[in-house]
Amino acid sequence: MATGEFSLKAKNGKLVRVKAVIGRTVESVQITGDFFLHPEESIIAIESALSGQPLNETESFFEEKVSSVLSDSNAILHGISAHDIALALKGAIANAR
């Protein structure tokens, strides 16, 4: 197993950092940062939705996974976007060592 990490700052200054454990797939994901998400516990569902996904998927695929959770959980991200999380995950996969 390898681990990768990537941080990015959204346009408004909020930070999102994704740490991922990488094996044959994205084994697990942890998302941290100074953004807002209501309800906060939805972060677990977002992390779960990204875990187990193929490594070579596109940003759009990961963004769609995050957006689906937001929609299903009636959750609102504030300060960062689903796209930012997808970009950070792609960065973490690329950085995995």
Binding site: S7, Q30, T32, D34, F36, H38, P39, H78
Partner: protein, 250 residues
């Protein structure tokens, strides 16, 4: 429960007690047992609070906190890490049914941060709300704020810098490389200010101005916590906000 506000005047509590009181109050409002509430408080000992989604080890110099008797607590709100310096800060919480505020998150921040802006204007300062969650004076950050919405209740808490001890602040907060790169362009001193840096008002005058702007136009009364809130807060302070399981969640 009518839309009559309870005001809890300045109190001093530990970090775990402060966060527990916010949550207990939210729960009791959600149950219809407590009124919409505005509270002001300080943190003793001084403390670092981190946002719900932050990694405690990435954000806080835990050794330095332990060495200096500084508490560390995870908030139930998102946002960034804050150093709550007992000497230099006014903290508030406003907790009320969501329906009493604009539905939009930015609009509700704008309304509540507007109370801070008005309070600072009473002191003769030129203040403005800067989305997402900051208040600026003369273009520099003087207040950071964080909001959650649970069980139909909105809770926003925030800090207003009365003074600024940057050396102490950065001895306990870890500043990530992303922010250091920002600082290369403009130093923290150029981006952050405090009331004391901007005017000669005393702590008491600041508190009075901020309090009066929060309650302006609201029917309100002064009242302490209910016994149910205190009981729940005691439990939350011990079992949640002092617990490693919560504070090291991420």
């Amino acid at each position: 429960m009518p839309d009559e506000w309870r005001l809890i005047e300045l109190e001093i509590h530990s970090a775990s007690e402060n966060m527990a009181l916010d949550e207990a109050c939210l729960d009791e409002i959600a149950s219809g047992n407590s009124p919409p509430t505005i509270r002001f408080y300080r943190w003793k000992p001084s403390a670092v609070s981190i946002g719900y989604f932050q990694s405690i080890e990435s954000e806080v110099n835990l050794d330095e906190c332990a060495k200096n008797g500084i508490d560390v607590v995870r908030r139930q709100t998102g946002g960034g890490a804050v150093f709550h310096d007992y000497e230099n800060e006014i903290t508030y919480s406003i907790i009320a049914p969501e329906k009493m505020f604009p539905k939009g998150i930015t609009e509700s921040y704008r309304e509540i941060c507007g109370f801070i802006v008005s309070g600072l204007e009473i002191l003769g300062l030129h203040a403005e709300f800067k989305p997402i969650n900051d208040v600026l004076v003369n273009g520099k950050k003087v207040s950071g704020n964080a909001q959650t919405r649970r069980k139909g209740v909105l809770l926003q808490h925030g800090t207003i810098l009365y003074g600024l001890d940057l050396d102490r602040m950065f001895s306990v907060l870890r500043v990530g490389s992303e922010k250091i790169s920002d600082k290369a362009i403009q130093s923290v001193r150029d981006r952050v200010t405090s009331i004391r840096d901007e005017c000669n008002s005393s702590y008491g005058e600041c508190l009075s101005a901020i309090e009066s702007s929060f309650i302006e136009g609201k029917t309100h009364y002064f009242s302490p916590w209910t016994s149910a809130e205190l009981l729940r807060a005691k439990e939350l302070a011990e079992k949640k906000y002092s617990a490693r399981e919560w504070n090291y969640l991420r």
